[in-house]
């Protein structure tokens, strides 16, 4: 892709603990193009949120980025320090968090918080900052934005607050927005509205999104590309349609099988057996092998990255053979642009 805005190369994020070094992110690589949405999928503890925080340089001690690159428009930002990194945050890469109830300061007006965010990167008067904030609120579909600026967060609904958070992320027209499960805490109907809004914004503004989530249904309807993470590694990646239609890694296949939407009612819902391994105590070789039905003798050694058609990859010794059938859909809605 020539218009790649964000490329992650072999990112390593580690936490020093008494139990040893925990590799929360262990050699993750992916890239996002302008106006594209990448779904970063995984269970709790798979390292998907830590990847998001690493990109923004928001990892707090005892965690640190131990290696790899985060290339923003070709420039490595992991080496930026202090104020130089602060100028990237919010201006070129923004972030939206999971819980809209917690991400806005409860004792400050929406306007106060937005004006501070504007003036963090632009030397403008309060009046100009306010106008910019109002426009951003209007852009994410918030009715009567002038009144909202005077409101406190508790006076808004959860969906409204998440829209405000997205508006704050959009203030400086960043190249990339990292969204850490932003619709998990919302009603399904509100979630749908937000997803449609995000898709529209990505298409209109050209902002790329990294959409961190555990919800495959969301990803299947929203994302252009998918990265599936397990125990700090990307186990499968590729175009969203292709991965969902025909997963090549057994873990992805297990996740897809356990989505209720595509399941025959009245029969038992299949699950991925076992639970996510502790990062302090990862099995040798493939971390998924103990839970994998297809595991074989080779799985005690680190699996190779297998490359398939359409730029798809899987981190597996025994990838699943591609199936040729109608692409299945997890939800009836899609927010993806027809491209």
């Amino acid at each position: 892709m020539s218009d790649t805005v964000l490329r992650i190369n072999n990112l390593q994020t580690q936490f020093q603990t008494r139990a040893g070094v925990l590799k929360a992110v262990d050699g993750v690589s992916f890239e996002v193009g302008r106006g594209r949405i990448l779904g970063l999928v995984g269970e709790s503890g798979s390292g998907k949120s830590v990847t998001g925080y690493s990109i923004l340089g928001l990892i707090e001690p005892p965690g640190k980025i131990a290696g790899g690159e985060v290339l923003l428009n070709g420039k490595d930002i992991t080496r930026l320090k202090g104020d130089a990194m602060r100028q990237v945050r919010g201006a070129q890469i923004a972030m939206v968090f999971q819980d809209p109830m917690m991400t806005l300061n409860p004792v400050l007006k929406i306007g106060t918080q937005m004006i501070a965010a504007v003036r963090a990167h632009a030397r403008v008067s309060r009046k100009a900052a306010r106008a910019k904030a109002r426009d951003a609120l209007a852009k994410v579909g918030i009715p009567s934005p002038d009144e909202r600026l005077e409101a406190y967060p508790h006076q808004l609904s959860g969906g409204m607050r998440q829209r405000v958070a997205i508006a704050i992320a959009l203030l400086h027209s960043p190249a990339v927005i990292i969204a850490d499960e932003p619709t998990t805490a919302l009603d399904v109907s509100i979630q749908g509205q937000i997803l449609a809004e995000v898709r529209r914004l990505a298409d209109e503004t050209g902002t790329a999104f990294v959409w961190v989530t555990h919800d495959l249904a969301v990803v299947s309807s929203l994302a252009d590309d998918i990265c599936v993470m397990y125990a700090g590694r990307v186990v499968e990646s590729g175009p969203a349609d292709a991965v969902i239609a025909s997963p090549r890694h057994p873990y992805t296949a297990g996740l897809l099988a356990s989505v209720p939407a595509e399941h025959e009612p009245g029969t038992k819902l299949p699950q991925v057996p076992g639970s996510t391994p502790s990062l302090a105590n990862l099995p040798q070789g493939c971390a998924f092998a103990p839970r994998c039905a297809k595991a074989g003798p080779a799985c005690t050694t680190t699996p190779p990255v297998q490359h398939f058609e359409d730029g798809r990859t899987a981190l597996c010794h025994y990838p699943i053979e591609p199936i040729s059938c109608q692409p299945l859909s997890l939800t009836s809605t899609t927010y993806r642009s027809a491209s």
């Binding site: 990237v88 945050r89 201006a91 968090f97 004792v107 400050l108 501070a116 965010a117 406190y152 508790h154």
Partner: protein
Amino acid sequence: MIGFLIQRVLQALMVVIAMSIIVFLGVYAIGNPIDVMIDPASDQALREALIQRYGFDRPLFEQYFIFMNNMLHGDLGESFIYRLPVLNLILSRLPATLELALTAMLIATCLGIPLGLWAGYKPDSLSAKAIMGFSVLGFSVPSFWVGLLLIMVFAVELGWFPSGGRGPTTDVLGMNLSITSLEGWSHILLPALNLALFKLGLLIRLTRAGTVEVMSSDYVRFARAQGLSESKVVGLHVLKNISIPIVTVFGLELGSTLAFAVVTETVFNWPGMGKLIIDSITVLDRPVMVAYLILVVFLFVMINLVVDLIYGQLDPRIRVKAAS
């Protein structure tokens, strides 16, 4: 808002009435003040005359109602010792205590909040640990001992400050204040420092605890993700969120400093209300004790009322609850 205010004022009134009964009963239980007031050698006729004059022969509830009735007319009685109206006596001592307490609170706040913020912002740094160690000393070392130490070092050995007393005062709006002159400041600095030490320790710990909590919150993380500078994160997001417990403790401490600066006032020979009440207790000057305690209750109630009103300003969510 007005409903809230009326409700709080009524509550305050109930507290004052309840306290007046408790105080009156408690002081009554101490015994007959006549025995202390007059020469033991005086004859029975004089004794009877005095008892009648002060109304000690009447039943307790009657004495209480006479007292309350007088109080409502602004008359809190006359001191047995000074032969002066109690109210004037206390009010003449109030400015000294007021300026001492306010100076102490000012020192504690201006030092305590920045130090606490720093200790909470960099909790693992050496300086933060030093600050926390100091704060433990601040409220565990007895205040009279620190007072004596301050006098010994700064007044006796170094001779920088006077060892006690109030120095010259000037009349400002009918109050005698010593903070208007440089010499007055040299008198007030040591006792104020002594009085501030405990509050300083308390404010540092309170501010630190709040800061540590807020720094790990999602909205601070979100603010950082927006690229806000660290000074803005602390100044805008942290400070306002930690202010509620600080204002609470500030109010309580201001009240207790005004009422019970006794130890410091005694050590530094500061002619404030604390010294007046101690002197009154030793000579069983009943009207002064009763009036003083009721004044203290009134002060506390008023300060808490103001604190409640400030809450609403600091946290919009409290405003909503109060209105509904």
